[in-house]
């Protein structure tokens, strides 16, 4: 099993490298001249040429890649053409904000989704199941930005109880940056009022992001549980007098969760994708909004940086989900599971 894990990590590293090449190629294939674009039409030719040289744009493509890679490994991702700061500094500022939202959304998504799925399976055919199924359907088909718009309308304006922009109110001072995540930092500093304010700002974008995944998780969990509930081993457990609730919570839940975990890992990574729009909508200063403006403004260093961060996150998520599946499913743990 350990060998398989190592082999998988090797594959992931390959994927990371491949991703870097892919992103590099995309960024460099821009028609037009990034240096010229950054400096504007009025800059002199010498300044543009100087920038070109600084960005290594005059060297052959493979060499450019190697130089870029060398810098990247030393955590130097170049300079953002928009903010004029190092991309790494930008990422360090914006990443925690996005992480905060994604963590909150993911937790709610997983917990809520599984809970709803279990309830739906327990009361199959009854009205609660029907409601959950319809809501899940709606949740799956609505894109995150639609939820964002709807909730902004409902809770931001019609019933103005939640803020719709930013991370904290202007009246509140940011906490000392330990993790960069305002909610955690406020808590660590013991500032409950501050925490509440930061948390309130997370609610609307967080909900918009998590609904799709939660609906998916609920649907999957329900489907798996209903399918497994007809298997012989559940019947056998019932025949031995095991109480129905215990069967549901323990013996039915575990085998049903296993296929769901892998899909949820993918859903979390798609939360990152949807964050691009939702952060924009709510003017939330996170990594995705930074990445989006980078893409719209052809800020190639920033694009590469953001995409690499996303790639690494995806890989970490995959490794985590593999570990969790191995923990839940002894067949995977002891037999090395199914082939690729």
């Amino acid at each position: 099993m350990a060998f398989k894990l190592l082999k998988k990590i090797g594959v992931y590293i390959f994927v990371l490298i491949g991703l870097s090449i892919l992103v590099f190629l995309i960024a460099r294939v821009i028609p037009g001249d990034p240096a010229r674009q950054a400096l504007g039409p009025h800059a002199s030719e010498e300044t543009v040429q100087a920038l070109r040289e600084r960005m290594n744009l005059d060297k052959p493509l493979p060499l450019q890649y190697v130089l870029w890679l060398k810098d990247a490994v030393q955590l130097d991702l170049g300079e953002s053409l928009l903010t004029r700061r190092s991309v790494v500094a930008d990422i360090r500022q914006y990443l925690p904000a996005t992480l905060e939202i994604v963590l909150l959304s993911s937790l709610c998504m997983v917990a809520g989704g599984i809970l709803l799925g279990v309830l739906s399976a327990k009361y199959t055919g009854k009205w609660l199941d029907g409601i959950i199924r319809v809501l899940s359907y709606l949740g799956i088909v609505s894109p995150a930005f639609v939820w964002g718009v709807l909730f902004m309308l409902l809770f931001g304006y019609l019933i103005p109880i939640l803020p719709t922009t930013g991370r904290i109110d202007q009246s509140v001072a940011a906490p000392a940056a330990i993790t960069g995540m305002y909610t955690l930092d406020f808590l660590l500093a013991g500032n409950v009022a501050g925490w509440w304010d930061a948390f309130r700002h997370l609610i609307l974008p967080g909900i918009a992001l998590m609904l799709g995944g939660m609906a998916q998780a609920a649907r999957l969990t329900r489907g798996n549980m209903v399918e497994n509930s007809m298997k012989d081993y559940i019947l056998a457990e019932r025949a031995y007098g095991v109480p129905e609730n215990r069967i549901l919570r323990k013996y039915l839940l575990k085998p049903s969760l296993i296929p769901t975990i892998t899909v949820m890992a993918m859903d979390i990574s798609s939360i990152f994708g949807n964050a691009f729009l939702v952060e924009n909508l709510f003017n939330y200063p996170g990594l995705s909004r930074y990445g989006l403006s980078a893409m719209l403004n052809k800020d190639i260093n920033a694009i590469s940086g953001v995409v690499m961060v996303l790639g690494i996150t995806f890989i970490i998520l995959n490794i985590l989900s593999d570990l969790i599946v191995a923990w839940l499913d002894p067949r995977v743990r002891l037999m090395g599971g199914s082939e690729d």
């Binding site: 594959v11 390959f14 994927v15 990371l16 491949g18 991703l19 892919l22 992103v23 995309i26 960024a27 294939v29 821009i30 028609p31 359907y137 709606l138 799956i140 088909v141 609505s142 894109p143 930005f145 639609v146 718009v149 709807l150 902004m152 309308l153 931001g156 304006y157 019609l158 990574s269 798609s270 990152f272 994708g273 949807n274 691009f276 729009l277 924009n280 909508l281 990445g291 989006l292 893409m295 719209l296 052809k298 694009i303 995409v307 996303l310 790639g311 995806f314 890989i315 082939e339 690729d340």
Partner: protein, 305 residues
């Protein structure tokens, strides 16, 4: 018989000569019956058909067919939904409903275009990689697929869009770039499990050509999954296309696109809610329709396998 060649082109065709002609009409009727067993799928199909009709016949059905262009009518600007304008008008006085109907065209073009390109290419790559699993090119194909799958498709599409000029065609190409690996992975896993089946082994032993095995033996067993996924994907591709136009990539104004309409209207929330909400609901409706159909397609094709 007719075929005078000595080599066996396909073991099945040797048996097939002399077999009764397939009654395609009857098979089609049976497929429809299986599809229609699921009521919700029929509802989904109806939704999609209605939307298609609205899209194709927009010039005839829409009340203000010319509002898709650079028309201004400030007298009727920002009107709430009323008898004249069922879904209200936007800030320059264009009828939202007519624009939505027209926007359906680019949505469907996107969906069909992307799938028409990615499904064949992705599936064939996956079949090849799966059947020849272990060979160097199979590993190469799958590793490249893994790289592409490492990012949410929307991000890949955004990247590509970012470097190209924003047009409908370019956003379509960007989506293709992001979408093909899903089909590769799908057919790869099916091909790897099917290639050890007895009927494949016996076809190999009988000397069937590789093309025959791939396309006449393995592929028919995958069509069910492929078509089901493709049906569901129509909705997702359209949704992602709307996402792209939401951020301003894709079809440019004044041509209407669903995502663009949502983002333009978002500025005017909550007072002029109709500008944003109706296009958003339209997107949801399309995705819902294809999702509902997906279940039916799955049932329709699963019995066949």
């Amino acid at each position: 018989m007719k075929n005078e060649k000595n080599t066996i082109k396909s073991p099945q065709s040797a048996a097939r000569t002399g077999a009764p002609k397939r009654d395609y009409w009857d098979e089609a009727k049976k497929l429809w019956y299986k599809f229609s067993l699921n009521r919700m799928s029929v509802v989904g199909l109806c939704i999609i058909i209605v939307i298609l009709i609205l899209a194709i016949f927009q010039p005839v059905i829409a009340p203000y067919p010319d509002h898709i262009g650079a028309v201004v009518d400030f007298e009727n600007a920002s009107k709430a939904p009323c008898a004249d304008y069922w879904m209200g008008t936007d800030t320059v006085g264009r009828d939202i409903m007519s624009r939505i109907f027209y926007a359906f065209r680019s949505a469907f073009t996107m969906g069909l275009g992307v799938l028409a390109a990615t499904v064949p290419i992705g599936s064939i790559l996956g079949l090849v990689a799966g059947y020849w699993r272990g060979k160097w090119f199979s590993t190469l194909i799958m590793r490249v697929t893994d790289v592409f799958l490492a990012l949410p498709p929307i991000i890949l599409a955004l990247c590509v869009c970012a470097v190209l000029r924003p047009t409908l065609l370019n956003s379509l190409l960007a989506m293709c770039f992001a979408w093909w690996p899903w089909y590769t992975r799908l057919t790869y896993s099916m091909a790897t499990s099917l290639r050890n089946e007895m009927y494949i082994k016996s076809a190999e032993l009988l000397g069937a050509s590789k093309a025959h095995i791939l396309f006449r033996e393995i592929l028919p067993n995958c069509t069910g999954s492929i078509l089901t996924k493709a049906t569901l994907d129509m909705g997702w591709v359209i949704l992602n296309g709307a996402t792209l136009s939401f951020v301003g990539l894709g079809e440019q104004p004044p041509a209407p696109a669903l995502g663009t309409m949502v983002s333009d209207g978002a500025k005017y929330l909550p007072t002029q809610w109709w500008i944003s909400i109706f296009p958003a609901l339209a997107i949801m409706l399309i995705v819902l329709g294809f999702n509902l159909m997906g279940d039916g397609v799955k049932d329709m094709l699963s019995g066949k396998e």
